[in-house]
Amino acid sequence: MNDPVNDDSMSDLAQHDVPANVSADLFWTATRYVLDELTPAERAEFEERLASDEAACLAVANAVQLTVGVQAASERPVTIRPVEDSRPRRAAVWPAWLAGAALLAAGIAVFTPWPSPTLAPVDLASAELLDRWTQTKLLSDADGLDDFDPEADVLDETLAAPQWMVQAVRITTNSKPLTP
């Protein structure tokens, strides 16, 4: 019996395959399908097409590969997490504000080359360190929160921010116009 598969070299299959034309419209529909952005009717119609349309199947495969690739390519080395607001409000206000200000300053310092000899640009890694410091300090100093005096002019040494953090805060209070 003539075996059409065994008679041909498998290495020639890729050449023998009829290329499936994935049009821009088809690829877009497949992308929306993969992202679950089709209406139920559109989804049903597209899945019916998948049963017999090789191009549609290939479009789905391409959409998944591209989507996964974009997700991986967009992975940022640092993620800034908001400070959990589970502590007494008065104690949580300034660390969160400080963290936000430092993040803002970090972003500005990275993308706006200020000729400031007194301040080194704060990178995103430092912003993450700030975030971690903030959370670590608040968690480790939980016993001291009841003693926190928001009216105090000078912060207690145990809660004093590192020098680079203080400098970052000063940037945001500077009236110098900021341009991205």
């Binding site: 059409p4 598969v5 299959l13 690829f27 899945e47 789905v60 495969a61 998944v64 974009v70 991986a72």
Partner: protein
């Protein structure tokens, strides 16, 4: 040839040796896996939205190829595999619905078991990721923003439109243009 820890052909004798009609040799099945496994795997993930189920469906698809692959014409083997894969996916999905399991997992190429992973296993190779990273940076800012928010941030298009105070159609257009530019950029390199 490196065997994938995720998929191994059934230890069958070749069709010629066994005299069993319709069977392919393990070498032929493995070769087909090398050629089409990656696309099939990606396709199954797109349909099933679950990497474990996709792997099951992929395994069953190639088992079908082993037992009935001679039914497929060489020039249409990929289409045949897609059809089989899709039927397997639907069966698994119906079974999952009956068992009321809901999971969402995206697998980006990390091998599950130890040892060498087969190239066809990887949905997104490091090379692809690096090329995409560069291509994404070249997108217009508004397209990049929508792309990253939809895929990385996992907001829906409607949510993005609301938060950006932009028409939904505008958001969809930006996403579509972004994806098309990335796709063309990758295919032309």
């Amino acid at each position: 040839m490196t065997q994938s820890p995720r998929f191994s052909p059934l230890p069958l004798e070749s069709a010629a040796d066994s005299g069993i009609e319709g069977r392919l040799s393990p070498e032929e099945v493995s070769r087909a896996y090398e050629l089409y496994g990656q696309d099939l795997h990606a396709f199954l993930i797109g349909v099933l939205r679950n990497s474990d189920l996709a792997q099951d469906a992929l395994q069953q698809t190639f088992q079908k190829l082993t037992t009935a692959g001679s039914q497929a014409k060489p020039e249409s083997l990929r289409g045949w595999l897609f059809q089989v894969a899709y039927r397997e996916a639907l069966q698994l999905r119906r079974r999952e619905h009956r068992e009321q399991k809901h999971q969402r997992q995206w697998w980006i190429g990390e091998p599950v078991s130890g040892g060498e992973s087969h190239p066809a296993d990887r949905l997104a190779t490091q090379e692809l990721i690096e090329r995409l990273r560069a291509a994404i940076q070249e997108l217009p800012a508004e397209q990049r923003q929508v792309l990253e928010r939809r895929i990385h941030g996992d907001e829906t298009f409607a949510e993005i439109a609301r938060s950006m105070s932009a028409p939904l159609g505008t958001i969809l257009t930006r996403m579509r243009l972004a994806m098309e530019r990335l796709r063309k950029r990758l295919h032309h390199e």
